[in-house]
């Protein structure tokens, strides 16, 4: 008879607040706290494995080092695949000499901003988004590090597992693109402030059926503590229509597409207009002009400002007694002869608060120069001090303006997002209806490569993945592994890729290992040898496996060339015939 694990109490009476209050005694608790020794260092969530480590002898600690080392572990052919991978680092790059390269962007932590990468991917960083390890907000410039991983070679080199455990079922994650993001200031890692989010727009390529207008992927975050991917959201994925008419040669389909494009264009125009009008409704504060320091090397004019001058000039003359007027970089080239002329009069008019137009007049002759005021000594110091105050006021006014605009702007963006989503839903439904009515068309399910943008929110640094979980029912055989027909391999990691799935599978390569593969697709398997070379079992060899038998010896051939870069790895790991 099956043992009961739980003791279900149905409709049992619960204590009243008065009953509970009888057990409350803070003074007793405080006394107990003051008398009690602090508990032994333990984690909030108990992990029996850590208790074992604490009490292990030195010899066991040495064994532990061997246990975690890469390469052959001599004792463990009885390990399950789960135990084997649990004994390895969770993120386990296989080639130590090939390090990932990150793009680096200097970001103003105070202001945030939109940062675009070469391939069109973007990070939209809010202001005041980062904190140090002690919780204080980071100011000034920070260095955001960003890398993308797109195909099986990227996944292989990263050492990031592509399996997902959900409620006891293990899935393979097929990726539409993966990113890693972190940030530093002065070489020290910083974190995202709780509540702040970076919007990510990841450009990638996805293979999908010709008329798949709405691919479905999710967003997962790698949790290195729980050693699993965590589902976070649905991927807001959109096809970028590079190949305008592919799959839409049919007139009916083409009309659907054109209608969809014009609907989206109308929505986007309305949205842009509303946002523009909103921003115009609160004027931008005027940025104060930075005072310029006089430079004795520059050509300059000494001008007496008379009582007839404009109010602005008279104010300037009253504020600063020793203004020198330099030729502005924006000035047209001055005629050197003009400097020898005795000018009868002149006119000086402000242009933009920084530059002034100086017109020298002698009868009908006029010489026009753009000049800019410069200050010396104490007057410059005073002016700088005034400028700093004005700059602070300006920045505050900018922030106030932004906070006034932000809420309404977000509301507009959200409203139009919903409209676009509705239009997309309608469009998808129309396409599906067409597909149902035209099921005999063989091109419908043909795979094509599409450029997409994956939009999601990253509310912390780390590794984020746009995926869909697969649970394929592939052929399973028992495998043994041999290197160059010569030496037997056991207790190593093998990697398996199906050309039609953008993911990578790791196999615990031991005698009798279960190897699952789709016999209808092209497959590629490889291992990393102790000498950091790659040994390969090619797609052609996969095709030659006798599927009637349930066992196979995988004879992997070592590629002789040294692997020094990602490019070297790509030359070896490809789906061409070897």
């Amino acid at each position: 008879m099956k043992k009961d694990i739980y003791n279900f109490k149905i409709n049992s009476p619960q204590p009243s607040s008065e009953d509970i209050a009888k057990h409350k005694d803070f003074d007793a608790l405080l006394q107990k706290f003051q008398e009690s020794p602090l508990p032994a260092e333990e984690e909030l969530e108990r992990k029996p494995r850590l208790v074992w480590l604490r009490y292990a002898a030195a010899a066991a600690a040495v064994a532990l080092l061997i246990f975690f080392a890469k390469g052959i572990w001599t004792g463990g052919s009885n390990m399950t695949e789960q135990e084997y991978f649990a004994s390895q680092p969770f993120v386990n790059p296989p080639l130590e000499n090939i390090k990932p390269s990150f793009a680096s962007q200097i970001v103003s932590a105070n202001k945030g901003g939109v940062y675009e990468y070469e391939n069109g991917s973007k990070l939209i960083v809010p202001a005041a988004a980062f904190v140090k390890s002690n919780g204080t907000i980071v100011e000034g410039d920070v260095d955001i590090k960003y890398r993308e991983m797109h195909d099986f070679v990227d996944f292989f080199l990263s050492g990031i597992p592509m399996t997902y455990d959900s409620a006891g079922t293990q899935y393979i994650l097929e990726s539409a693109g993966m990113v890693e993001i972190y940030a530093e200031q002065d070489g020290e890692r910083i974190q995202m402030q709780p509540g702040k989010e970076i919007k990510v727009e990841l450009i990638s390529f996805v293979d999908m059926p010709r008329l798949n207008v709405s691919p479905k992927y999710n967003i997962y975050k790698l949790n290195t503590s729980s050693k699993n991917w965590e589902y976070r959201d649905i991927d807001n994925i959109q096809i970028i229509e590079d190949m305008e008419n592919e799959g839409f040669e049919n007139e009916e389909l083409n009309n659907l597409k054109i209608n969809q494009q014009s609907t989206l264009a109308r929505i986007e125009t309305e949205e842009a207009t509303l946002i523009r009008n909103l921003e115009a409704s609160i004027s931008m504060p005027l940025e104060p002009a930075r005072p310029q320091k006089a430079d004795s090397e520059q050509l300059s004019f000494d001008i007496d400002i008379s009582e007839n001058a404009s109010a602005e000039l008279r104010n300037l003359g009253q504020k600063y007694k020793n203004i020198i007027w330099h030729i502005s970089p924006n000035s047209p080239a001055i005629n050197p002869n003009a400097l020898r002329v005795q000018w009868e009069s002149m006119d000086l008019n402000p242009i933009d608060g920084i530059d002034y137009e100086l017109t020298l007049i002698n009868g009908n002759n006029r010489e026009r120069v753009i000049v800019t005021p410069a200050l010396t000594g104490d007057e410059f110091t005073t002016a700088m001090s005034v400028y700093q105050n004005e700059l602070a006021t300006y920045r505050k006014a900018l922030e106030t303006r932004e906070s006034q605009l932000a809420k309404e702007r977000s509301a507009i963006i959200e409203r139009f997002s919903l409209q676009k989503a509705e239009a997309q839903k309608q469009y998808t439904s129309n396409i599906e209806a067409w597909k149902k009515a035209n099921q005999d068309d063989p091109s419908i399910n043909q795979l094509v490569r599409r450029k997409v943008v994956n939009r999601f929110i990253a509310n912390e640094f780390g590794i984020w993945n746009c995926d869909r979980p697969l649970d394929p029912k592939d052929l399973e055989i028992e495998g043994n592994f041999v290197l160059d027909k010569d030496s037997k391999i056991s207790n190593e990691t093998a990697y398996l890729v199906n050309k039609n799935r953008n993911t990578i599978v790791r196999i615990y390569a031991k005698d009798g290992a279960k190897v699952n593969f789709d016999q209808k697709s092209d497959n590629l398997m490889w291992m990393v040898t102790k000498d950091n070379q790659i040994a390969v079992f090619s797609p052609k060899e996969f095709k030659s496996i006798n599927q009637k038998k349930d066992k196979h010896t995988f004879n992997l051939k070592v590629e002789p060339n040294a692997l020094k870069s990602e490019e070297d790895v790509r030359k070896v790991l490809r789906f061409k015939e070897m």
């Binding site: 279900f8 109490k9 509970i20 209050a21 405080l30 107990k32 009690s36 602090l38 909030l44 108990r46």
Partner: protein
């Protein structure tokens, strides 16, 4: 595979009722509470306001899992002692302080069962069970279905049962559950959906 979408539809009808509880805490309240925690970190005697605020709900949480007044009192006392001992390590991360206390309480309950080797108590009420029965779209005699469901739930792992317990028997919003279990809200929803599917399959298997 894309059951995440199904969750929104399946659980949405309950969300309005469950989310209307007072269990979500505003940012301002959390900030104010963080000040109290920091004061208590400097001076343990200042832990009292937090103790007074949370003693009742933590006791009830433990009582539902032990069904014994004295056991609940002992475990509850242990929870607050541990909280005071570990308070110096606590850092505010935008999540209510109560979530941290519930986590300690959950661990102390688990430790109590490891020490006593008894079966873990799960308190259920008929109106909560009927919510759960609605969720998995079961019909038929209520008592029979309830017993069938409890039999199926006997096969659940502790972690899975905890989620069902918090969501259906304690009517906690997903946000709070996520904060207590230190997972995301979306993850809590997906896991709950998958556990409901599992319960349904177990009920069919048991006949």
């Amino acid at each position: 595979m894309f059951s995440n979408l199904q969750i929104s539809r399946t659980l949405a009808k309950k969300t309005a009722r469950m989310e209307s509880s007072n269990k979500t805490v505003s940012q301002e309240a959390m900030q104010a509470e963080w000040q109290e925690v920091q004061a208590a970190q400097r001076n343990p005697a200042l832990f009292k306001p937090l103790y007074d605020r949370y003693f009742d709900p933590i006791y009830r949480f433990i009582f539902k899992r032990t069904a014994d007044e004295n056991t609940a009192a002992d475990v509850c006392s242990q929870v607050f002692l541990k909280a005071m001992q570990k308070l110096h390590k606590y850092e505010y991360k935008g999540v209510p302080f109560s979530a941290w206390l519930y986590r300690i309480a959950s661990n102390e309950v688990a430790q109590h069962y490891r020490d006593t080797q008894k079966n873990r108590v799960v308190s259920v009420e008929d109106h909560n069970i009927s919510d759960l029965i609605d969720e998995i779209n079961e019909d038929g005699d209520f008592e029979k279905t309830r017993n069938k469901m409890l039999l199926a739930m006997n096969d659940l792992k502790v972690g899975d049962l905890t989620l069902i317990e918090m969501r259906f028997f304690e009517q906690r919003p997903f946000k709070e559950i996520a904060e207590i279990l230190d997972i995301t809200e979306s993850n809590a929803k997906v896991k709950t959906y998958r556990i409901l599917e599992k319960i349904k399959k177990l009920m069919m298997k048991n006949g």
